[in-house]
Symmetry: C2
Subunit: 323 residues, 2 copies
Amino acid sequence: MLSEFDLISRYFTRAPRSNIDHIALGVGDDCALLMPAAGTQLAISTDMLVEGRHFFPDAEPFALGHKCLAVNLSDLAAMGARPLAFTLALALPEAREEWLKPFSTGLLALADLHQCELIGGDTTKGPLNICITVFGETLPGQALRRDAAQPGDDIWISGTLGDARLALAAYRNELVLDAASHAQAASRMHQPTPRVALGMALRGIAHAAIDISDGLVGDLGHILKRSGVGATLAVDSLPAGTVLSRQPQAIRRRFTLAGGDDYELCFTAASANRAAVQAAAQSATIGVTRIGTIDAKSGLRLHDANDAALDLQLTSFDHFRST
Amino acid sequence: MLSEFDLISRYFTRAPRSNIDHIALGVGDDCALLMPAAGTQLAISTDMLVEGRHFFPDAEPFALGHKCLAVNLSDLAAMGARPLAFTLALALPEAREEWLKPFSTGLLALADLHQCELIGGDTTKGPLNICITVFGETLPGQALRRDAAQPGDDIWISGTLGDARLALAAYRNELVLDAASHAQAASRMHQPTPRVALGMALRGIAHAAIDISDGLVGDLGHILKRSGVGATLAVDSLPAGTVLSRQPQAIRRRFTLAGGDDYELCFTAASANRAAVQAAAQSATIGVTRIGTIDAKSGLRLHDANDAALDLQLTSFDHFRST
């Protein structure tokens, strides 16, 4: 069996890339040394993924490697930060090459795509647990914070919502999908795309932003709470995922509003910035949809296509409450 | 039962302290924002602690909170970095106040002692797993790196070695200690003291440094390998812990050389700097002992009190190899 140190060096240590001048020291010492550019702020986020909670016990390791970093990059995107580097802490029941090789390949492929360097980590024996801490760069005053929404702001969402939750529903036999539809929806669940370029393009244009990990209602709720505002959502204008859009209205509404794991960006911007938002989205090659408005009055109001109030019972995904 | 978000706000969110000017944004957004002082490097380390591997299933939560941060601060100490902040990712089987309250109290008490702010985190349901990523500050060229040992350097160790391993041996019934001795040794195992002040005081004085988490032979081995040097250790001059020093020579040798969990600093410095090392240790109010020399010749040589070669079979602690 491979030793802890063999594992690290074989799969997670690579020659430093020559174009990375902010990393003074990478994997292999007591600490990594990061040298942020003068005057920049470091955006830092950490996510822990647990087997049976965030992914299935038989999760395909390449996709899992991708997803673990993707959810962290998504937090950087939600701040408008540029990815710099990350650390990986990994608990494994056993050190199997058949798992480590594809896992590290999926992880590092996404890291390379975003020029985000693995600079340190820890490995240990234990129930499968993957904890990544990611570092990004932003300028003072430019970060897209949750507390910055203003009454009158448009509310926007990137891409589409609900296909990840739809795939989960099919895995749980809550509904039936044909094989092709299930595979298509499942790819949104297993290999989410962090909207990094969009987040960066929205700096100076958007006010508040958050990424959709627990469901739109719950995540938008964090913006509302921290900004001290309310909102009205046009429920039937929410952009459903390709597969979800073929489902009945009740499921479309439920999974666009309260489906987790989409990793799209929900953000607010002054209505005067509509053209600028569209230009930012175009530069990031992702669609965006206007889905509602920020109100001075607290609370979240859901309206249907006829602008009539809807009374839907929805709860956000909560790891300690839901199953 | 408390929800995930209730947990975070109740136990881990505190009002930001007024004297922390490098933290632009703490807990509660997608990312924290850290603003390192101009020209400084950020030292980053991550450690994952798993129940049954790094601590007993019934570990006392106050001490456990202390230890989880202590092992990370020890990594900063080994680089000579000043603690700034940390993130905490926590997987818990259930959200119990009786556990969370003392755990967070122990954790935050040590954090306050080192002015190290909790700036972000993640909580989820899962087998108990505690992952901390810590951030410290150092200046370019001042970090105490593993690759900086020079032939002719003295090798030093702070404090004493082996009591943590002795306590573990008693828990495992490998040997018998009286209750008072066991309690005394166990305090070294459960509540290690990171040598932060010493690490900072050694900047510009020591060459290489590492903290002793897996045992002296294994950890010093990392310095030797990365520096491309060898070493000779005076085995019987290794400072044994208070309880270990009353044990037979064979056990003293074994646990000082290969006992883990001590979190002392092993460092090398030019022999011309002996007085400076002693002054640094005095300023940090911790004893240091000279235990050997760095050689140009590779390999580790163990000598007894008569300077005769010892041939001891020792292996470093390795989470995937040992039990």
